[in-house]
């Protein structure tokens, strides 16, 4: 781009045209060369880290997101069946030639070394769409070499599911290299018999309510950090620097203390035999069997996360409040405003940048939180991250985990973009 500009520029007569350096190159050209060298130098300094982040961080995340649409299982396991299925109109059962192709696919698969066999992943994949499909594949595949034509009857004898139009519709639908089905599942939808996407039954909806709860919990925590953070940030901002710095330690100590330590602290305080319950009983406010359950529920998550995220609200608020001259409030009062009006109309609007910065920061961190909800959240204090972790580690439905993760990531990136527009990354302060 700059090169094109340069050659276009050299045809026009410019005052530097006639000037040359000692080695006879035009001054303009020489300057451009120097500029280019400096740009290259700057880029070379950045490139090791850029390459590192792209390989170790960006690429793995892109790869993970790809898993949410990647759909190789059916295509790889049943190439002949899919080809034969192209003739099928979707009504009734497919004809004998499809079942014959299916038998061939299974026989070919059995010849592969065990680790390369595609039938296992195929069963798991089909099971996401239709329960019992895994059993149908697993129970049939070993017997297929003994099957005699007509294959259709042999398959129907082996497992009743091979006689189900629904299974064949699933095979046809998922017999493509890309799928939307993980996103369909992640938004609590499913395919009905006609292949249309419909909402699941009310009692089987998990993810949309979970996203809602994650959002609700994050907003609650955001509100609480604001309610608790605003007064102390204000108090520190009106104190003399020396005292304020001392109080700042109260904010920075939790900020710098290990997350696990803070979570442990809350477990010590909140559990049934914990400090709060014991103190209340000792004070006679509670009976022994009336112990409060403060943990392994939503209360635990909200209290512990408010504590953990409070410094992220206080620090930006404080740095904004420090810069607000106290004379504005005095001026408002001397002009007849009541203290409340002066606060609401004069002081509060000036703190908005701090509230915005702290608020978005707290919200972004809260929405993707995993550790604290997992340890003190119990069942109804869980958040979307916990569900992603569950699919990653226990149910091993990686496609669904990737789809949920991608939705979360997109949400966070939009928030971050808004944050950037609002305050800019440069003002990101770290204590």
């Amino acid at each position: 781009m700059t090169q094109a500009d340069a050659s276009a520029g050299s045809t026009a007569s410019s005052p530097t045209e006639g000037l040359v350096t000692a080695d006879g190159v035009s001054l303009k050209r020489s300057l451009q060369r120097a500029e280019r060298r400096r740009r290259l130098m700057a880029f070379l300094l950045v490139s090791p880290l850029l390459a590192f982040i792209l390989i170790i961080f960006i690429w793995p995340i892109a790869q993970m997101m790809w898993r949410s649409v990647d759909n190789p299982q059916v295509v790889e396991a049943l190439p002949r069946t899919l080809e034969a299925l192209e003739e099928w109109d979707g009504e009734g059962l497919p004809g004998e030639e499809v079942y014959a192709a299916l038998a061939r696919d299974f026989i070919e698969d059995q010849k592969l070394p065990r680790i390369e066999q595609k039938a296992g992943p195929l069963g798991i994949r089909l099971n996401y769409e239709l329960s019992a499909a895994r059993g149908a594949v697993a129970r049939t595949v070993g017997d297929v070499p003994d099957f005699e034509p007509p294959y259709k009857e042999a398959f129907l004898d082996a497992h009743r599911l091979w006689g189900s139009t629904e299974l064949w519709r699933v095979i046809e639908r998922e017999g493509r290299p890309l799928t939307a089905s993980y996103y369909v599942a992640a938004t609590d939808r499913e395919y009905n018999a006609d292949g249309d996407i419909v909402l699941r039954d009310e009692n089987r909806r998990i993810y949309v309510p979970l996203f809602g709860r994650t959002l609700g919990l994050s907003l609650t925590i955001l509100g609480l950090t604001f309610l608790l953070g605003f007064p102390i940030a204000y108090y520190m901002s009106i104190l003399p620097m020396r005292t304020a710095n001392l109080l700042m330690i109260c904010v920075l100590l939790p900020f710098w203390t290990s997350l696990l330590v803070r979570t442990t602290a809350w477990i010590v305080l909140l559990q049934q035999q914990g400090v709060i319950n014991e103190t209340l009983i000792a004070a006679g406010l509670l009976t022994d069997d009336g112990r409060l359950s403060l943990m392994y529920n939503m209360t635990g998550t909200v209290v512990a996360m408010t504590h953990i995220l409070l410094p992220f609200m206080v620090l930006p608020l404080y740095s904004v409040m420090r810069t607000i001259p106290p004379s504005y409030m005095r001026a408002a009062k001397s002009l007849g405003a009541t203290p409340f009006t002066a606060f609401r109309r004069v002081y509060f609007p000036q703190t908005l940048p701090g509230i915005g910065a702290g608020g978005v920061l707290v919200f972004i961190i809260a929405i993707g939180y995993y550790i604290t909800p997992a340890l003190v959240g119990g069942q109804d204090g869980r958040m979307i991250s916990n569900e992603i972790a569950r699919h990653m580690q226990q149910s091993l439905n990686w496609g669904l985990a990737a789809a949920l993760g991608t939705m979360l990531l997109v949400g966070v990136l939009i928030l971050y973009w808004a944050y950037n527009r609002l305050v800019g990354t440069d003002s990101l302060k770290l204590g």
Binding site: S47, I61, T257, T264, I267, V268, H307, L409, K429
Partner: protein, 284 residues
Amino acid sequence: MTTLPPYATNLERVWFYAFRVICGLIFLFLLAPILIMIPLSFNAEPYFTFTRDMLTFDPAGYSLRWYQDLFASDSWMRSIHNSFIIGIAATFLATTLGTLAALGLSRPQMPYKGLIMGILISPMIVPLIISAAGMFFFFSSVNLAQTHIGVIFAHTALGTPLVVITVTATLVGFDHSLTRAAANLGASPTYTFFKVTMPLIAPGVISGALFAFITSFDEIVVVLFVAGVEQRTIPREMWSGIREQISPTILAVATLLVVISVLLITTLELLRRRNERIRGVSAG
């Protein structure tokens, strides 16, 4: 505002004291949970509450048994060892790469500054569970899963944004004519860097390194996904301690970690003051 004016009305008086009490309670909320663990870690009994002996300050109620437990336990000692090895290696990598990148980014000639900055600080914005999931698949496919190198690389990636941000912030106030002067006087770029640039940006680099270290030292989500038994760090050991067999040994570890954070805060505060002194202005 910090003292009550003599003409204050009764309402103002009440509000003045009420506000201070509210603030006091909020500070208590911030500090108490952390401080309360410290005496409990000296509990003689395997409980998480104050026993009668502790409340009456009877020496029999206190003991160092959980600290002895900690130092006698192989798995805890290994996790401490791992945390420091991984933390120091990740800090070294993150600081080196991050400082170089910050030097490049602060040059006015740097092309695509916004985009590159966005990529470099992305590890700080992406929720950890997503980073962990991505790295889990990637590291398994390149045989880095369940290795020390894998965890170190992951922690380096998570730590660099903090180094880039702090060093870039230090470089904002950096007088570039100093390096030009050095070059003019015949110093090579390397010599200029170590003799002129480095001493001036050292506070930023050191606090960036501390941020990177604490990030690695405190990181658990990626460790849960990427590390094996051999790479268990302190937070990972605490995690299984909390989930499986909760014993006051955790409180002993927690107390030691609080001491470490106090040391860190002190160091950072001293660095900040030094930085202010060097520039003669408040860097904020």
